[in-house]
Amino acid sequence: MKTVTIKPGTPWEPTAKERGQKTLNLLIAVAISFVLLYSTGLNGKLGWVAAFFFSYVSVSFIAEYRRAGKPAAQDSLLTSISRFAIFLAIIPIVSILATVVSKGWRGLHWGLFTQDMSEATVNSPIQEGGMLAAIVGTLIMVGLALIFTLPIAILTALYLTEIKGKFARPIRFLVQAMSGVPSIVAGLFILSSIVYPVTGERSGLMGALALSILMIPTVARTAEEVLLLIPNDLREAGLALGATQWRTVAMVVVPAVKSGLVTAVILGVARVIGETAPILLVSGGGDATNLNPVSGPMGSIPFYVWNAFLLGGSEESTQRTWAGLLVLLLWVLILFTIARYISSRSQKR
C-alpha cells in the first residue's frame, strides 16, 4: 500500500507567481510615474507622489482585471486607495518627528536646563538663557492640575462603574462632552470665574485649574475603561466575605487596577502638557523662574515656544523655538512610551 503524506499547505498566502506579479506592477507604476513626471508639467516630490498614486492604482486595476475580472479589479482599487490613505496619514507624523529632531538638536545645550530667560531675550545668543522657568512652571502647573484632577476623575469613574446610579448614563455623556471643551474656553472660564472676581492676578494656580478642566475627562474615561475590565467576581468575592462596598472598592477593586490608573494619569498629563491657549490667558507666562504658584506669572514649555516663535525672527529665536519643541516632544514621547509599556504589560498578565 502506498502512503501519501500530505504536506501542510498555506493556500491563503500569495504564491511566488502572485508576488512576482505584484512587484512587477509596482515597477511598472514607478516607470509610468517617471514618464508622467517628465512628459507633463508636474514637478517636485509631490507631483511624483500624485503621479505614482494614479499609475499604481490603474496598473493594479488592469492587472487584476486581466487576472480575475471586474470584481477583483474593483477590490484592488479599494486596496490601493486605502494603502495610499494610510501612507498620507503617516507622512505628517514622520515629517513632524524628523523636523523637530533635525531643527531642534542644534539649539540644545546644558544651560537650557539651568538658566531662565529673565536676563536674555529670544534673540540673544543661544548660549544665554534657557528653559528653566518654563520647565519648572510646567512641572508645577501640571503637578497641581493632577492633584485637582485625580480625586474628581477617579470618583467620576467609580460612580460610573461601582455605583451605577440613576445618572450614570447622563454623566457618561457629560464627561464625553466635556472632553470636547476647547482649551481656550477652559481658560476663559477660569478668567471669568476666579481671576477677575477673586484674585485679580494671573498665576500658576489659575493655569493649573484651567488645565485640570481639560484633564478630568481624559483621566475619568481611561479610569472608567480599566475599571470596567475588572471581573465582577472580584467584587462579589469581596462582598461575600462580608466586606462593605467601600472596603471592597478600596481594598479589592482599586488595587487591581493600579497600573490602569497610572496609565490614565499619564495620558491625562500628556493631554495637557502641550496646552498653550489657557496658559496664555490665565497664567501670565513669565520669563523668570517662579516657584510660587499663588502669585506672579508662571511660564510653561509651550509658552516658551510660542514666545520664541512670535517675538523672534532671528536665527537664535528659531533655534530656541525648535529646541523648545524638541524638549516638549521628548516629554510627550516619554510619557506615551511609559503608558504603552504599562498597559501592554498588564494585558499580558
Binding site: 486605502s82 495610499f84 513632524i96 446610579g165 482649551s183 496664555l280
Partner: protein, 325 residues
C-alpha cells in the same frame, strides 16, 4: 387538617452601613462634578457676556463688525461686536478639515482593520496614537514651516484650474496663510482621533456577518460595502463630528498658520480669516473691560457650538450596532 399557612411576604431590606452611605454620597458628589463644571462654565461665560449679548441681540451672530472706536483721550465713542466673520471662519476651516481628513482617516482605519498584517498594524496604530498626543503648537509650527510652502503651491494649482468655482477664486493673488492651509493642518490634527474611532467601530463588526459575506463569495470590497460600512455608518459620522468639534475649538495651531484678520472671507485660498478661538487670543491682550466681556460671549458661542457637535457625535457613536444587514 391544618391550614397551610402562607407566610406573609417579607421585604428584604439591607440598610447600608454608615461607612457605605458616606462612600456613596462622596462618590456620587464626585460623579456629579462634570455636570457642575460644565454648568459653571456656561453660567460664568453667560454672566460675563450677557451685557454684550443684550445690547447686540441676535446681531452678535449675524453682524460682522468688531470694532471699538476711541477718541484722543481713549474714551470709548462707540463699540460694535458682531461675530459673524469669525463664525464663518470657524465653520469654514473646520469643514475643510473634515472634508480632507475624514476620508483619509476612514480609509486608513479600513486598511488597519482589514488589510494590514499584524506587525505592521501594531506599529501603525502606535504611531497614530502617538500623533493624537502631539501638542497643537507642534502641529501649528510644523504646518507653518514645512507644510506651508507646498500647500501654497497646491492652492495656486487649485486656483488655476478651479478658479471658476467661486470658493476657489481669490480677490488678489495672495495665497500665504489662507483658511485652506489652516484647514489642512486641522485635517492632519483630526486624522488620529477619526482613525481610532472608525477603527474601533469597524472592529466591532460581528465576525459572523463578515464570514457569511466571504462564504457567499464576496471580495473584500463587497464585504466592506455590504457589512462593515452599513454597520459602522453611525460611528463614522460620529467620529467625523468629533473631529469637527476638535477643529472648531482649535486655537494655537490655527493662529500660527492663519493670517488672522477680522473680515468675512469664504474664499478659502485667500490669505485672511480666523476662527472664534483665534479672535479671543488676538484681541485679548489689548482689550478693555467691555471688549473682554464681548470675548466671553464669543467664548460662550464657541462652547455651545462644540458642546452640541460633540453631543450629537457621542450619541451617534454609542448608538452603534442596531443597524446593518
Amino acid at each position: 387538617m391544618t391550614d397551610t399557612q402562607i407566610p406573609a411576604r417579607r421585604e428584604l431590606v439591607t440598610k447600608p452601613r454608615r461607612s457605605d452611605q458616606l462612600f456613596r454620597i462622596i462618590v456620587t458628589t464626585g460623579g456629579m462634578s462634570s455636570l457642575i463644571i460644565l454648568g459653571l462654565i456656561f453660567a460664568f461665560l453667560a454672566y460675563r457676556g450677557l451685557g454684550v449679548l443684550r445690547v447686540e441681540g441676535f446681531g452678535f451672530l449675524t453682524n460682522s463688525d468688531w470694532s471699538v472706536v476711541e477718541d484722543e483721550n481713549s474714551n470709548i465713542v462707540s463699540q460694535d461686536y458682531g461675530l459673524a466673520a469669525m463664525l464663518i471662519g470657524t465653520i469654514l476651516s473646520a469643514t475643510i478639515a473634515v472634508l480632507v481628513g475624514v476620508p483619509i482617516a476612514v480609509l486608513s482605519a479600513l486598511f488597519l482593520e482589514f488589510y494590514a498584517g499584524r506587525k505592521i498594524r501594531n506599529i501603525l496604530i502606535g504611531l497614530i496614537d502617538l500623533m493624537a498626543a502631539f501638542p497643537s503648537i507642534l502641529f501649528g509650527l510644523w504646518g507653518f514651516i514645512i507644510l506651508m510652502p507646498s500647500a501654497e503651491y497646491w492652492a495656486k494649482l487649485l486656483n488655476k484650474y478651479f478658479g471658476w468655482i467661486p470658493v476657489f477664486d481669490v480677490p488678489v493673488p495672495f495665497f500665504t496663510r489662507s483658511p485652506f492651509i489652516a484647514g489642512l493642518v486641522l485635517a492632519i490634527m483630526i486624522i488620529p482621533i477619526c482613525t481610532s474611532i472608525s477603527r474601533e467601530v469597524f472592529s466591532q463588526t460581528p465576525l459572523d456577518r463578515i464570514q457569511a459575506a466571504y462564504a457567499l463569495g464576496a471580495t473584500r470590497l463587497s464585504m466592506i460595502r455590504a457589512v462593515v460600512l452599513p454597520f459602522g455608518r453611525g460611528g463614522i459620522v460620529g467620529g467625523a463630528m468629533l473631529g469637527l468639534g476638535r477643529a472648531m475649538g482649535e486655537t494655537v495651531a490655527v493662529y500660527t498658520v492663519l493670517n488672522v484678520v477680522y473680515q468675512v472671507n469664504w474664499q478659502v485660498l485667500f490669505g485672511a480669516g480666523g476662527n472664534i478661538a483665534t479672535l479671543i487670543i488676538l484681541k485679548f491682550g489689548e482689550a478693555d473691560r467691555e471688549e473682554i466681556n464681548a470675548l466671553m460671549a464669543a467664548g460662550l458661542v464657541l462652547f455651545l457650538l462644540t458642546l452640541v457637535v460633540n453631543g450629537v457625535a457621542n450619541i451617534l457613536v454609542s448608538r452603534l450596532g442596531k443597524v446593518g444587514r
